[in-house]
Symmetry: C2
Subunit: 161 residues, 2 copies
């Protein structure tokens, strides 16, 4: 990462909300996903391990679903902050959790390269936020996701006081 | 497991189709899921590790999606064998892969207990099979899934000859 890498939303989750296996900075066994702005989209980069295989040479679908899941919750948090006029890191980040995860596997995703997961909020209300996600390998979109997320009350942050 | 435990479909995938991170018997780093008949339903039992956390005390949604994914492909394989009049283990098992994975998180799934993942084929054709899945913790269904899977050509088995 260069010094110019923008901040990741997961670095600003309250500690109680930062233990997720997919994206918690406080989970040493986890995947450590990090979601940043890239213009008007959010971007998570991840290179699967060789053992994250489905059929030989291709990435396991459950891992791909996991990448889409955490990327969507991170995207909702980042977008919520932007809508409030705040940059990532200006305050503790809100935490969203997943209500529904819909994943379409368009073609096999090759192992052995970095994956680009990109997201955009498509609808947002007090009650729920919908995030559209693409996952690409070597420039080709291999998986699409639509994820419904809901915002957690701020209690965990308050408990950290 | 008692001596009366019925056979798992994953033990009869051809070697080339048995390296899946979720359910491949030849993936030592994987989750090792095993799917068996339990009457007219299929059943996979799995106890998450403590690090498979979402918010503290609850299971990571990406893992739950993974359990549903592999359980559905195993269910489709088991049902295909049963429809052909064969018990699990009477022949090499067919291998199905996921085209679409739809998961509804009804309520948080507690960590610290065994999860019961149950499946049923709801529609089946030459082109695709749809599997309905429930995931329960301590007797309560916490997650529902609907998974569209497609059957792989038998080429990997032929190559193993």
């Amino acid at each position: 990462m260069s010094a110019a890498t923008p901040p990741a939303i997961q670095d600003f989750y309250p500690d109680d909300a930062a233990r997720c296996y997919g994206c918690g900075r406080l989970n040493p066994e986890g995947l450590g996903l990090q979601t940043r702005w890239d213009g008007d989209e959010t971007l998570t980069l991840f290179t699967p391990q060789a053992y994250h295989t489905a059929l030989p040479g291709f990435v396991y679908g459950g891992l791909l679903a996991s990448l889409i899941d955490c990327h969507a919750t991170g995207t909702a948090a980042a977008a919520s902050e932007r809508a409030a006029g705040r940059d990532i890191g200006a305050a503790a980040a809100p935490r969203f959790v997943t209500a529904a995860l819909n994943v379409a596997y368009l073609r096999p995703t090759p192992l052995g390269c970095e994956l680009e997961i990109r997201g955009r909020v498509t609808t947002s209300s007090e009650r729920k936020t919908v995030v559209a996600v693409t996952l690409a390998a070597r420039g080709e979109v291999t998986v699409r996701g639509e994820v419904v997320v809901v915002r957690l009350p701020a209690a965990p942050a308050a408990r950290a006081d």
